[in-house]
């Protein structure tokens, strides 16, 4: 446990940094999902299963899905004529 926790913390910092540095939204979505997953594992290791389950459902599934949908909406709908 004493090795795993620091590793997970560092992984969380790394995946968070990746989300910021990947500037293309399409690829950023994967980073967001991975970051959610890493956080969920970290929370489980911190003895917070309730939080881990929420983060798994929200952070690594629902939120990336919303991002995906937003991206598709933006890609597929050319902006309307401005009045």
């Amino acid at each position: 446990m004493t090795v795993i926790l620091p590793l997970l913390f560092l992984l969380a910092a790394g995946s968070g940094t990746a989300v910021v540095l990947i500037r293309d939204p399409a690829r950023q979505i994967f980073a967001i999902a991975v970051n959610g997953l890493v956080l969920a594992i970290l929370f489980d290791a911190l003895q917070a299963p309730d939080v881990a389950l929420s983060e798994l459902a929200v952070g690594s599934a629902a939120v990336p899905l919303l991002f995906l949908v937003a991206l598709m909406a933006v890609r597929n709908q050319p902006p309307e004529e401005k009045s």
Partner: protein, 133 residues
């Protein structure tokens, strides 16, 4: 190790803020805001942890076994809901802003451009626009 979680939390907030400050795409920016928020998760759960304790669920272990702080976990649960709601709202705003403004770049989508002239105002205000740039 004893400082690592707090340092990670500070780093996540800082890097998220850096992302927001430099982002040229609103969808990317919303992702960065999520990173700022994950800093609070890490900080709170880090503060509520204790070595050698079980999760605060006394199903397999009898009550009285040392457990980690359940209050922090309850706080983070609320925080996760906050995060989900904010992300959804911001993405909606972004989609709509894209439809109106035709861009996702904060530099292009500004709330009000300096010297913006109302279309109908020009004719009404006889000499109102004279000094406008």
């Amino acid at each position: 190790m004893s400082m690592l979680p707090y340092a990670v939390a500070a780093w996540l907030f800082g890097i998220g803020l850096y992302g927001i400050a430099t982002s040229r795409n609103f969808i990317h920016l919303v992702g960065c805001l999520g990173i700022c928020q994950s800093a609070t998760y890490v900080l709170l759960l880090g503060l509520g942890y204790r070595w050698g304790s079980i999760a605060p669920i006394f199903y397999d272990h009898p009550p009285g076994t040392p457990a980690v702080d359940p209050v922090m976990q309850a706080l983070v649960l609320t925080d996760i809901v906050v995060g989900a709601t904010l992300t959804a709202l911001l993405l909606v705003l972004t989609i709509q802003a894209y439809k109106r403004g035709g861009s996702l770049d904060p530099e292009i989508l500004r709330p009000m451009r300096p010297g913006g002239q109302p279309d109908r105002g020009a004719s009404r205000a006889d000499d109102g626009e004279r000094t406008a740039p």
